[in-house]
Amino acid sequence: MSVFLQPIYTQTVGASAVASVTFNSIPQGFTDLKLVFSGRTNASSVDRDVPYILINGTSVGTTNTRLYGIPNVANGSDRSSGLNLGYVSTATNTSNTFGSQEVYVPNYSGANYKSFVIDGISESNSTTQTGLTLVAGLWSNTAAITSLSIYGGSGSWVQYSTFTLYGITKG
């Protein structure tokens, strides 16, 4: 019997902050991928960071469309190059507080371009610092995804940030 949701890799950031977390040698036997992470960066110049992903080591061919809300600051929708993810918490936010995010990648091994759907939030005990984001992403490349690198954005991932990659098998 196949397994619906199979954890492939998990990484937890140690005492030293890291600019990125990379999952290499992603198995090609699943239908979809799902990345779940609880992250915070050490950026001190922004109230919310915008992490991004490199696919197979590159950002070439990646684009995204976002719907975002920063309560009491701004709402909007925009489009940009790069595979930007949802907001995560930073060093300016309440201590011990981490953003929460899910990235879903259907047909990651297929011969079509690769779509991403993302929902992510940063948290803080604040009425202006947090951000909520829904993102549709695209990698305009027909190659199979074999590695994912998740960068923190302006800052590096701090201790206790956790990242888990799951493989999902269809029925």
Binding site: V3, Q6, Q11, S77, S100, N125, T127, T130, T164
Partner: protein, 168 residues
């Protein structure tokens, strides 16, 4: 297998005016996921209530079919301010709530919820969050709404594990 059903509660006749409780949550998983199918017994649309203290902030990004808003709220005795369930006949809201690292004692607990409802003429779709400012492992949780959840509302709890391999 990494996603395990822990518990499921379906509201019976008469509704659940006292809330829906999940106690003795196992500490053997890494993440929790609640799946909520809910309708309120209140006369109108009401927020979902979850454990909170006076200092618990809530935030949401929401569309109602006409406009987009984002709001922050704190100082209320419940989380998920503005993340709502409807009261229309036979009409239920549907949400997925993730709580990552719920047993991690180095972290405050971030609740992330996505979902919404449509009532054939009105509706809301919401991405919401609540910060529980406690590093304690989460061992129980509850849901409530104004005047309680209506009959046939259902909340399921799953535990999700992770991998020992890093792929680094």
């Amino acid at each position: 297998m990494s996603m395990f059903p822990i518990a499921s509660i379906t509201v019976g006749a008469g509704g659940a005016s006292g809330g829906v409780f999940f106690n003795n949550i196992p500490q053997t998983f890494t993440h929790l996921q609640f799946r909520i199918f809910g309708r309120t017994q209140n006369a109108g649309v009401t927020s979902i209530y979850v454990p909170a203290t006076a200092s618990t902030p809530s935030h949401y990004l929401q569309g109602d079919g006409a406009s987009v808003t984002s709001t922050a709220q704190s100082g209320l005795p419940y989380g998920f301010y503005g993340t709502t369930v409807p009261s229309a006949t036979s009409t239920f809201g549907s949400y997925i709530l993730d709580i990552l690292d719920y047993a991690n004692t180095n972290k405050y607990k971030t609740y992330r919820i996505v979902g919404g409802w449509d009532a054939n003429g009105s509706g809301r779709v919401t991405l919401g969050s609540t910060l529980q400012q406690s590093t304690s492992a989460m061992t129980s949780f509850y849901f409530d709404t104004e005047n309680g959840f209506a009959q046939y509302s259902r909340i399921d709890l799953y535990g999700i594990s992770t991998s020992n391999a890093t792929g680094a």
